[in-house]
């Protein structure tokens, strides 16, 4: 279930905004915690912003997969059902 391109861009914007990163600093596979000094509170902020933006509910257990952009794309794709 791929995520639409415009959604991917929006997700990237949200993540970069919360982690205070420029978009060229983050790749699909760079790790929020290890590579970008994020902590668990930032992860929850990302989750909350995605829920608001896409009008979905994401279970907190999904945080374990939301370690990089790729993981976030997958979780959002599943929660939006496409």
């Amino acid at each position: 279930m791929p995520v639409a391109t415009e959604n991917r861009q929006k997700i990237k914007e949200i993540v970069c905004d919360i982690l205070e990163l420029e978009e060229d600093e983050v790749s699909d596979t760079s790790l929020f915690r290890e590579d970008h000094d994020a902590d668990s509170l930032r992860a929850i902020e990302i989750l909350a912003s995605l829920e608001k933006e896409f009008k979905v509910v994401i279970d907190q257990s999904e945080l374990a997969r939301m370690v990089n952009l790729q993981g976030v794309y997958e979780v959002v794709a599943e929660s939006t059902g496409r």
Binding site: D39, S40, L41, I44, A48, Q60
Partner: protein, 401 residues
């Protein structure tokens, strides 16, 4: 330094007598929240005080000019003085300290102001409510109500350990002779901001608070106040006061390790500071009243820190938050009162809602039923966001030594 009067507002009992009964019988304060609109939350239980009548306790001030947290602190201070059989006229001749800890201050009022700002614009914010919001009023209003002018009135905002900070400050002020008496404790009122914040963090339990349980799901927010009268032993003996317990010492530290995650080494260090300050050895401690919020993170970290200091056979370690929820800035003040009542009445309050102890929280939490016990020394933990820790050591008063 001894404790001679208690003012208690909690969801399991008002006043020291009722509170002690609630603790002994394992009463639960959990019920659906009515303090604010909970629409949109999948679950919304809390430990509210539903029948609070501030006019019964606040005689001189206009209760409408006080936020709910200040109403709690003023009412609890009045109750504590009555409980200690202190004459207000006499107190007015003495030097005193009023130290009240809080997490949220009057955030319930802030919630209302923000709501009216959003719906109706800032010009329509209620002026009376706006006047109530300063956190300093939690302590200043006590001085106003009682007509105490030769006092320092301070509100200590070190979040969920603030009650113990306030007691520690009172202990030092009385011990050094700076003041003749201290009214210290903590107060907080339920508010949407704190509920929503903890909810967003995934740390609000759907129904019940189950500290140290393998299946624990988080906290329940609560409210209330605990105010303690602290005076020197000489002062208490001279006026023939009933003595609940001695304050033996306290420890506090702030590690600023993380906004919300507790740090094990720092919590252990705080226990050592409290033990050193009180001049006692770990082997002399009979009971630990844990911070015990019922979150995954707190209970594991706290239990491990306890074992770091106490070894493989720590004293029984209970959480009264299982009964009255997390009363935030009031929590460690109410717990200090609970510890003192446990010492006086010879019992250990249970950790209720307990099914199976988490193997990662290796403590005897006295599940579900209170037990009889002769307690000489009790440790009261308060751990807060930002790594603000404060621990108070309480002892049985066993006569003049």
């Amino acid at each position: 330094m001894v404790l001679t009067g208690f003012g208690v507002f909690s969801s399991i009992g008002v006043g020291a007598v009722e509170f002690a009964e609630g603790l002994r019988s394992g009463r639960s304060g959990a019920k659906p929240i009515t303090a604010f609109d909970t629409k949109g939350f999948a679950h919304a239980n809390g430990c509210e005080i539903v029948d609070f009548q501030p006019e019964r306790w606040i005689r001189n001030l206009d209760v409408d000019e006080l936020g709910r947290a200040s109403q709690f602190s003023v009412a609890a201070a009045r109750m504590a003085i009555d409980d200690a059989h202190l004459d207000v006229e006499t107190l007015r001749e003495q030097r005193g300290l009023i130290s009240i800890g809080t997490t949220d201050g009057e955030s319930f009022d802030l919630d209302q102001l923000v709501e009216s700002e959003i719906w109706f614009g800032p010009e329509n914010m209620d002026a009376t409510i706006a006047r109530r919001v300063r956190a300093g009023r939690l302590s200043a209003a006590v001085a106003h109500e009682l007509g105490l002018t030769d006092v320092e009135a301070v509100t200590i905002p070190t979040a969920c350990a603030a009650g113990n900070y306030a007691i520690g400050y009172g202990f030092d002020a009385v011990r050094t002779g700076e003041v003749d008496f201290a009214l210290c404790g903590g107060a907080d009122a339920m508010c949407r901001k704190t509920f929503a914040g903890f909810y967003r963090l995934g740390t609000i339990a759907p129904e019940l608070c189950q500290p140290f349980d393998a299946d624990r799901k988080g906290i329940l927010t609560g409210e209330g106040a605990g105010v303690l009268v602290l005076e020197s032993l000489e002062s208490a003996l001279a006026r023939g006061a009933r003595i609940y317990a001695e304050v033996l010492g306290y420890g506090l530290n702030c590690d600023a390790y993380h906004q919300v995650a507790p740090n094990q080494a720092s919590v252990a260090r705080c226990m050592e500071l409290a033990l050193d300050n009180a001049g006692i050895k770990p082997s002399e401690v009979d009971l630990i009243s844990a911070h015990g919020t019922g979150t995954k993170a707190n209970d594991i970290t706290e239990a491990r820190a306890i074992r770091e200091v106490y070894g493989d056979l720590p004293p029984r370690t209970i959480s009264i938050k299982s009964m009255l929820g997390h009363t935030m800035g009031a929590a460690s003040a109410l717990a200090a009162i609970a510890c003192s009542l446990a010492i006086v009445h010879g019992f250990i309050p249970p950790t209720i809602n307990h099914v199976t102890t988490d193997p990662e929280c290796e403590v005897d939490c006295v599940p579900n039923e209170a037990v009889e016990a002769d307690l000489r020394i009790v440790q009261n933990n308060g751990l807060a966001f930002g790594g603000n820790n404060s621990i108070v050591m309480l002892g049985k008063y066993e006569g003049v030594r």
